[in-house]
């Protein structure tokens, strides 16, 4: 595979290791270019779309891996394929609409046509017109195809990778993360709604943000006010063995009032909602967990908070912009009452989420705050200096340290 090689970046990571993050990684274009190669074409599975996005033969939809445009298809046999959405001829986008259904994919520029696995079938005017022009005699469409991406599926999630070194998905996830995905997504599910938001920060700041259980109840004050999630609820942060993937969980029934919250700005309001049915919930699982945020390295998050089930995916749109997608799901057998609760609870998250909207701006505040300080570094010692599960407490940055440990390894620093 030919990959334009980004130049090596010389970066000396601070001696204190994963408890420090050089601010330069959020703003250096050379690092952004190298990430496209080491992270996004590295030995990782990247989320592409949901299987329910392409339920029928001929369905296709667009995705991205890093900055690279991808098209995901389902062929006549039901097999899922993914390719770079870039014509083998001149490099134009082949598929323009976000989703569609077709028997073949045709580039609008010169009508090069590909089957749903990305193999070139025909090119316009191959034999010229009236015996003149056309491709050379030895032109062979079979030698041309859309650049393939390996795909796999797991519980309705479609993943892709450019690397032959990426292990199978279960090995990549590890038993813990795979088990959590199975809990939430192994049942047939349906899309209840989708939107996205542009946040004005480097993608890694959001990757930190979703792993940051320390900030959740301090910044997102709606949570604390209405006692949906506080750090004194029973809960913890579980990391995969390699520290890549994380699960932050809490049990709402286990709320104990902690004296530490008495002076926290966000804990001092009356909690009476005028519309209290916002928080009406039903018990879905017998493990007692009412609130979980799972991260799958590098850019996938799955949430199940009360009954709000959603897949979040974020992707870089340049070094200082990130698009964050919110895909809200329900189970195929939900009745009207359950659907109504999921619809209502979707108000808690998303671009207008009562407990998440701050994330739309907080990472931008870091992006802006660190400008001119590329030689300085962040300090990440809440919950210790190691990368390990934190069973009793979510007042920890351990999952963020786990992200950086893996990021450093992939980037070669």
């Amino acid at each position: 595979m030919s990959v334009a090689l980004a130049p090596e970046v010389s970066l000396r990571w601070p001696a204190a290791g994963v408890t420090r993050v050089p601010f330069r990684v959020f703003s250096d274009p050379a690092i952004h270019a190298l990430e496209q190669q080491r992270i996004f074409r590295g030995p990782l599975w990247h989320f592409l779309c949901l299987e329910i996005d392409i339920p029928n033969p001929g369905d296709w939809r667009l995705g991205t891996i890093g900055e690279t445009p991808i098209v995901v298809t389902r062929d006549a046999h039901g097999t899922i394929h993914a390719m770079v959405n870039r014509c083998a001829h001149k490099g134009a986008l082949v598929c323009l609409q976000e989703r569609g259904n077709a028997e073949a994919l045709t580039c609008v520029y010169h009508s090069w046509t590909y089957d749903l696995a990305g193999q070139c079938q025909s090119v316009a005017f191959r034999h010229g017109l009236r015996g003149k022009g056309g491709m050379p005699e030895d032109f062979d469409p079979a030698q041309h195809r859309l650049e393939p991406v390996r795909t796999t599926t797991f519980c309705g999630l479609v993943f892709g990778t450019f690397s032959d070194a990426t292990p199978d998905i279960e090995t990549f996830l590890g038993p813990g993360a795979a088990g959590v995905i199975r809990r939430n997504l192994s049942r047939p599910h349906k899309l209840l709604g989708m939107h996205s938001q542009i946040i004005h920060n480097n993608w890694k700041l959001y990757a930190e943000n979703v792993r940051d259980s320390y900030h959740a109840t301090l910044l997102h004050t709606f949570y604390t006010t209405f006692k949906i999630n506080r750090l004194d609820m029973d809960g913890g942060m579980i990391l995969s063995d390699d520290g890549r993937h994380s699960l932050s969980y809490a049990k709402r029934a286990q709320l104990r009032e902690s004296a530490e919250y008495a002076n926290v700005h966000s804990a001092q309001y009356e909690s009476g909602l005028h519309g209290p049915h916002l928080l009406d919930a039903f018990t879905e699982f017998d493990d007692g967990i009412t609130h979980m945020i799972q991260t799958v390295f590098p850019t996938l998050t799955i949430q199940h908070t009360l009954n709000s089930l959603a897949v979040r995916f974020f992707t870089p749109r340049g070094i200082d912009q990130t698009e964050l997608f919110w895909m809200y799901l329900g189970y195929a057998d939900d009745d009207a009452e359950r659907t109504a609760m999921r619809v209502r609870q979707a108000n808690l998250t998303g671009a207008a989420g009562l407990v998440s909207l701050e994330d739309g701006c907080i990472n931008e505040f870091v992006q802006r705050g660190t400008r001119g300080s590329e030689d300085r570094e962040a300090f990440l010692e809440m919950g210790g200096r190691d990368v390990a599960s934190s069973d009793g407490s979510r007042a920890t940055e351990t999952a963020i340290r786990g992200f950086w440990q893996n990021y450093r390894g992939l980037m070669g620093w």
């Binding site: 989708m194 996205s196 938001q197 005028h274 519309g275 619809v343 108000n347 207008a352 909207l357």
Partner: protein
């Protein structure tokens, strides 16, 4: 089902509806958000939904308030709990199309463009789309019995916290 087409809506009623729609926008633009739930009936639904999801009939959009209570909660939350960079709105409204439904309510569609100004000074188009409203008359006053704010884009810049 509309029983009476736009032509049958008298000029006086049209003028009342246009003034009513303008007042709602002015309340938002003037930061009189506490007045905003008062434009709705007690059990009105207010939704912000992207056009593609709206046309596909998907129940979850970007924001939902079921009833005035949830609208009051939204305003209370953004005044006391939510954290965001201060910004203001300027709505431009288009001429509405007004019809009367079988149950007597008015069904009103109007286009809008919404400019957002951040505290740093930048003014940008934040949203464009249409209001799909059900308007009823209670005690001589017009009220929204339902409002779908159908935004053209499914992609929000930064966040939505003030009602549109």
């Amino acid at each position: 089902m509309d029983q009476i087409g736009p032509a049958a809506i008298g000029a006086a009623l049209r003028e009342r509806v246009e003034d009513f729609l303008a007042e709602i926008a002015f309340a938002l633009d003037d930061d009189r958000l506490e007045d905003w739930p008062g434009f709705f009936t007690e059990d009105a639904a207010y939704r912000i939904v992207p056009r593609d999801g709206y046309e596909a009939g998907r129940p979850i959009g970007i924001l939902l308030c079921e009833g005035r209570g949830m609208m009051q909660d939204r305003v209370l939350a953004l005044r006391t709990a939510n954290i965001f960079e201060p910004h203001s709105y300027c709505h431009l409204l288009g001429r509405p199309r007004i019809a009367r439904a079988a149950d007597g309510a008015l069904t009103v569609r109007s286009s809008f463009v919404l400019y957002r100004t951040m505290q740093g000074g930048g003014t940008e188009v934040f949203a464009a789309g249409k209001y799909v409203d059900r308007i009823v008359e209670r005690d001589g006053a017009l009220l929204l019995a339902g409002r779908d704010v159908v935004v053209e884009s499914r992609r929000v810049d930064i966040l939505v916290v003030l009602p549109i």
